[in-house]
Amino acid sequence: MSPTLSALGTTDLLALLTSATLFSIGVMGVLLRRNAIIVFMCVELMLTAVNITLVTFSRVHGIEGQLLVFFVMAVAAAEAAVGLAIIIAIFRHYQVVDLDRFRALKW
């Protein structure tokens, strides 16, 4: 076992496992769903999964991981505001939030 992981306890490994699972669920949601709002929420789920990993490793590598989580949350807030405004603007145009109907920028 590598030194970093041997410094982590059982709960930390479970946290990494949960993080990987949540990230995979988020990827699956982004690829499977067509509702733009739910796809957007899956992106937030993936960001949270990354935050869990950062917090877990900050127990071993110092406080910088938690600082990074802080910045991830700030960027997530900005991204949610702009993304939802884009969804509203698109909804005004098409009257749906179905991603398969938004094909103006597709080939």
Binding site: T4, I25, L31, R33, M41, V55, S58, Q66, E79
Partner: protein, 173 residues
């Protein structure tokens, strides 16, 4: 130990909540389950000695961002489940492949002898928290070493506000 049991509870709750979130057809139920996931992650952060992160996770994610989602669902009147919004199963295959890849990487790091991650293990975060407090331990480097990044984040939020107002403006006049 009670904290171990709580940690298992929160981890299981987050996973189940995430699964329920992606499978809901009604966006409002999906938002509610995502809020449950955020509360479970906050519990995990608490048990991982990240008290300040746990607090702002609830205040910012569950309190602000998810309310924004609910507002948009209400504004667009899409809070009903009358259309099937699944794509082809190709997406599920890719997602499953990502899951298997992640779990494989984790297992390989656990059992195989791969190169260790850089850095010195065991920094003693708990002692630092006891000395400086839960907020101080994050605030000191944030306003000291990383103050430029903090200001850049403030600028990013300002740009986001301006962009949102620009996008949401009605072009009626």
């Amino acid at each position: 130990m009670i904290s171990d049991f709580l940690f298992y509870l929160f981890a299981g709750g987050a996973t189940v909540g995430g699964l329920l979130m992606v499978t809901r057809r009604n966006p409002v139920s999906a938002v509610i389950f995502l809020i449950a996931v955020f509360f479970c992650t906050s519990g995990m952060f608490l048990l991982l000695d990240a008290h300040y992160i746990a607090a702002i996770n609830i205040i910012l994610y569950a309190g602000a961002i998810m309310v924004l989602f609910l507002f948009v669902i209400m504004l667009l009147n899409v809070g009903h489940a009358d259309w099937r919004d699944l794509r082809t199963p190709f997406g599920g295959l890719v997602g499953g492949a990502v899951a298997v890849a992640f779990l494989g990487l984790l297992a390989r790091r656990l059992i195989g002898d791969v190169a260790p991650l850089a850095g010195e293990p065991a920094a003693g975060l708990e002692a630092l928290v006891a000395e400086q407090g839960a907020v101080g331990v994050v605030a000191r480097p944030l306003f000291g070493e990383y103050v430029v990044v903090l200001e850049a984040t403030g600028l990013l939020l300002l740009v986001a506000i301006v962009g949102t107002i620009f996008l949401a403006r009605r072009e009626s006049a």
